[in-house]
């Protein structure tokens, strides 16, 4: 199987992002909506990389986004007077990645030894635990959070700071989304993906076959965590120019990630993107028509999907398209 053919499913994904990007740029007033849509697609993809492929639910996932946001905030607020200019942003992203890797190593060292329900129980408090560590030990300014809009102005100038938080932060979210899609495809087409599929179907059988399941779990866990960290750094810290522990460790975002992955289809490439678009668009619409009731509407939908359509939208489409030309492009 040639590389071009192997990676063919990436084409519709990249085409979709390119189209969204073009719409956002060309249609006036739609940029923020498009940025929202892409944020949810990226969130779903990053979450799917671990949950979808392994079948392990990480209820504390938002903690990785939170520490990523802190990575960016700490970098900008402490180094803004060093004259680093635009290098501050890549540096902040590197810090976000490092923070999320460290947290994922700490959590993974315990949680990844556990299986199924025990894994979920171990992760359920990660976000709360980390939030209370920051507040309790008064780390990084404690519960007062980090507000660094002044530092942004100091580092990039008034115009530059506004442009970064209203435009370039969203472009970076696009970049994270594309990166997440590429990583998912690379894993799906490589030994990692096969190993994880085997693990999801039957962990004991996979072990007996000589697959080092722990190693592949760690790889997927860390990749997923880093993507979350980058997403937190771009979509929260850089865009809002403030970080509060109570906001960035809110379990709500884990719930949204779960909904998106389930809506689209777990373990597929296209699933989280379709799920993200459906979720973000309907959330936007519901927020206008029935404000405050979004979760009450989405929670029964999750139940319905779990019971009646466990394979999600893309899973169903994939089954319909079997042995047609489209099969090659849907993964």
């Amino acid at each position: 199987m040639g590389a071009a053919r192997k990676y063919a499913p990436l084409l519709p994904v990249l085409g979709l992002y390119a189209a969204l990007f073009a719409i956002g740029l060309l249609v006036p007033g739609k940029w923020q909506l498009i940025a929202q849509l892409v944020f949810y697609c990226a969130l779903g993809q990053a979450f799917n990389l671990f949950m979808g492929m392994t079948g392990y639910v990480d209820f504390g996932y938002v903690a990785f986004m939170g520490v990523g946001a802190y990575g960016m905030a700490v970098t900008v607020s402490s180094l803004s007077d060093k004259g680093l200019g635009l290098w501050l942003i890549p540096l902040g992203l590197v810090h976000a990645a490092i923070f999320s890797i460290l947290l994922s190593l700490a959590v993974g060292a315990v949680a990844l030894r556990l299986r199924g329900a025990y894994f979920a129980i171990a992760t359920i408090g990660v976000n709360e635990g980390f939030r209370f560590l920051i507040e309790g030990a008064r780390l990084w300014n404690g519960s007062a959070g980090i507000i660094f809009s002044r530092n942004m102005k100091e580092a990039f100038g008034r115009e530059g700071a506004i442009e970064i938080s209203t435009f370039w932060a969203d472009v970076l979210v696009f970049a994270v989304a594309v990166l997440a899609a590429v990583m998912t495809m690379v894993y799906l087409c490589s030994k990692v993906g096969y190993a994880l599929t085997a693990l999801r179907e039957d962990e004991d059988a996979a072990k007996v076959m000589g697959i080092n399941v722990t190693r592949y779990k760690i790889v997927a866990f860390i990749t997923s965590a880093v993507l979350a960290g980058l997403l937190g750094a771009c979509a929260w810290a850089l865009k809002l120019t403030y970080v509060y522990p109570a906001d960035v460790f809110e379990i709500h975002y884990t719930v949204e990630a779960i909904i998106i992955v389930l809506l689209g289809g777990a373990g597929t490439l296209l699933g989280p993107i379709v799920g993200g678009l459906i979720y973000a668009a309907s959330k936007y619409y519901l927020a206008v028509t029935v404000p405050g009731l979004q979760l009450l509407i989405f929670a029964p939908i999750i139940l319905t999907i779990i019971v009646l359509f466990p394979e999600g939208t893309v899973g169903m489409v994939k089954r319909r398209c079997r042995s047609t030309v489209l099969e090659r492009f849907i993964h």
Partner: protein
């Protein structure tokens, strides 16, 4: 001074720990029988807290009398949830039941929010207090303590002395074997699920004796985490283990609060929450079978 404070806190911790323990028995019962982790645990406790609030404000009766009502509400919710969703997912991967219980918790929270708004409410049930010298305990907390112990004893009696209880224990041990012995395993599943949720909702009533204000739709999250720590302390499958786990947890939580308060520059309350999370990881790592049971 410090010692007096510590002993007072530990005593209060033991009283609260009994309620924690009773609150976790339902979680352990459900996991033991069905191997389903109820991730929406805290939301069910929240429903109990509202039962107590409404009994006090709406009916004007002592909140403790809401206990049977809450038990019935919980069992009803349990039966509905079991027959519509859980029954179809028993054979499915664990992922499915984790997400389903989670989603059901969200439905409860959002429904209560719709009915009662998200503002924090509470009630003041003052029936005097008792002075022990080193600490002062309101009678309401004493009632909650007695209620928890009584319910735990009742459950113990039910599991050990009645046929229905012994049948349920059979299913925990070996559901194939139970089937061979002529036990209706399907029905035991449904019964234990609704009994577990009934206990959980009832524990929410007892919990309101400790939180005079602070009854709100999202109050359950913290208790879900605590319940998991306690259940894991007790070995996750045993309701009695959970009860003793609750006592241990209450002591540790209040004891650590006293210690954190001694260290300057720390927020003791937040550190206690962090401590319970660390405890969860440490126990899962070193004693995944619980404290009571040998490896």
């Amino acid at each position: 001074m410090f010692l007096e404070q510590l002993s007072g806190n530990l005593f209060q911790g033991l009283i609260l720990g009994a309620v924690y323990g009773m609150a976790t028995m339902g979680l352990s019962l459900i996991f033991g029988v069905l191997r389903v982790v109820n991730v929406g645990h805290g939301a069910f406790m929240m429903v109990g807290a509202y039962c107590s609030l409404w009994a006090f404000h709406g009916l004007g009766v002592a909140p403790i009398l809401a206990l049977p009502l809450a038990m019935l509400v919980g069992m009803g919710l349990g039966l509905i949830f079991y027959y519509t969703v859980i029954r179809r997912l028993i054979k499915a991967p664990e992922l499915a039941t984790l997400l389903a219980t989670f989603a059901f918790g969200v439905i409860l929270e959002e429904t209560i929010k719709l009915i009662a708004t998200s503002e924090s409410r509470g009630f003041n049930w003052d029936i005097g207090k008792i002075d022990f010298g080193f600490t002062i305990l309101p009678y309401t907390k004493l009632i909650a303590f007695a209620g928890s112990v009584l319910i735990a004893l009742l459950l113990y009696w039910w599991f050990n002395k009645t046929r229905a209880g012994m049948a349920m224990r059979c299913v925990v041990e070996d559901d194939q074997g139970a089937r061979v012995c002529g036990i209706n395993v399907e029905w035991e599943y449904a019964l234990s699920f609704s009994l577990g949720l009934g206990l959980t909702v009832a524990s929410g009533v007892l919990l309101t004796m400790f939180i005079p204000v602070g009854i709100q739709p999202y109050m359950g999250g913290g208790y879900t985490l605590k319940a998991f720590v306690i259940a894991v302390l007790g070995g996750l499958t045993s309701p009695y283990g959970a009860f003793f786990g609750g006592l241990v947890f209450g002591l540790l939580e209040n004891g650590s609060y006293s210690l954190f308060a001694q260290i300057p520059g720390l927020e003791p309350f937040a550190m206690t929450r962090f401590f319970s999370f660390v405890m969860l990881l440490v126990i899962l790592l070193f004693r995944p079978t619980g404290l009571l049971r040998a490896r």
